[in-house]
């Protein structure tokens, strides 16, 4: 991309066209980056809700962002190694005379099943819903917990 560099010259109209083009090129670069992002994010199932799964020695932790979803609207089940999260997000019904300027939030049903990497104790799964974030504390089955092996001499 050729654009002229001139020092200390008051801006004439003819210098501007190249500004436009280089700005458009930067915008295209940014757009290309945002298209590439999803692939780089990796293992995405594409099912709502997006979850984060972490573990420590004794538990798996499953978290999902579900703003506006009440605990009563959620149905969480644990079977074998699978956890399913089923629910519905209802948006508040507003005044019938309301005129919308923006509408970005979505409501609807969702259903997601996730298999835990190791055996779990399905009877003792704890779930908490706070500030729109669902946290599931899934205890690992005894056989799945790591064993520390002492070194004798």
């Amino acid at each position: 991309m050729f654009f002229p560099r001139v020092f200390g010259v008051p801006s004439f109209g003819s210098m501007r066209p190249f500004e436009e083009l280089s700005r458009m090129r930067r915008q295209m670069d940014r757009m290309m980056d945002s298209f590439m992002e999803p692939q780089l994010q990796g293992l995405r199932s594409g099912v709502f809700p997006a979850v984060n799964l972490t573990e420590d020695d004794n538990h798996f932790y499953l978290r999902a962002e579900l703003p506006g979803v009440k605990a009563e609207a959620l149905d969480i089940q644990a079977t074998g190694r699978n956890i399913t999260i089923v629910g519905e997000r209802k948006l508040d019904t507003e005044d019938a005379t309301a005129r919308y300027h923006r509408r970005e939030r979505e409501g609807g049903r969702f259903s997601r099943a996730l298999a835990m990497p190791k055996e779990i104790d399905a009877d003792r799964v704890e779930a908490r819903m706070q500030n729109g974030v669902l946290t599931l504390k899934v205890p690992k089955a005894e056989s799945a917990k790591p064993r520390r092996i002492a070194i004798g001499n």
Partner: protein, 136 residues
């Protein structure tokens, strides 16, 4: 877009904010989804801010610019290892320009289940008034 409750929800990437100004502390900055609608007497703004508590939410209004800023504490405990991370956690930030027709001292904010409901009442004079003319 209808809010037909029979439809299935799809997963959306969280929108990151690209600003000219850098943050002083590192971390992702997201644009929360909002709904804005108006009725005769007020404008209502609903914003999805999961993980934000009232202590960490700042609503700033000056020079007719409304700024929503919410901090989210990182969720992991110290010993946790990541296995599958599908969404990032970070601050929420969004700005709006308000018109003069808002009674700025009567704004009401409610944060419940990670959803902020901001009610902006319209100023009396924004309502139309007919002026009677008396014959003199």
């Amino acid at each position: 877009m209808t809010t037909d409750t029979q439809k299935e929800m799809t997963v959306k990437e969280k929108k990151e904010l690209a600003t000219a100004a850098e943050q002083t502390r590192p971390g992702a900055l997201f644009v929360p989804n909002v709904d804005i609608f108006e009725t005769e007497k007020e404008i209502t703004l609903l914003a999805d801010l999961p993980g934000v508590t009232t202590e960490h939410l700042t609503i700033d209004l000056r020079d007719n610019i409304l700024t929503l800023s919410g901090e989210v504490a990182p969720f992991e405990g110290a010993d946790e290892k990541d296995l599958l991370i599908e969404y990032e956690v970070g601050k929420y930030y969004r700005q709006f320009t308000l018109s003069d027709a808002i009674a700025q001292n009567k704004i009401d904010a409610q944060l419940k289940d990670g959803v902020l409901r901001l009610t902006l009442p319209k100023v009396e004079k924004a309502k139309p008034r007919t002026i009677t003319v008396s014959a003199g």
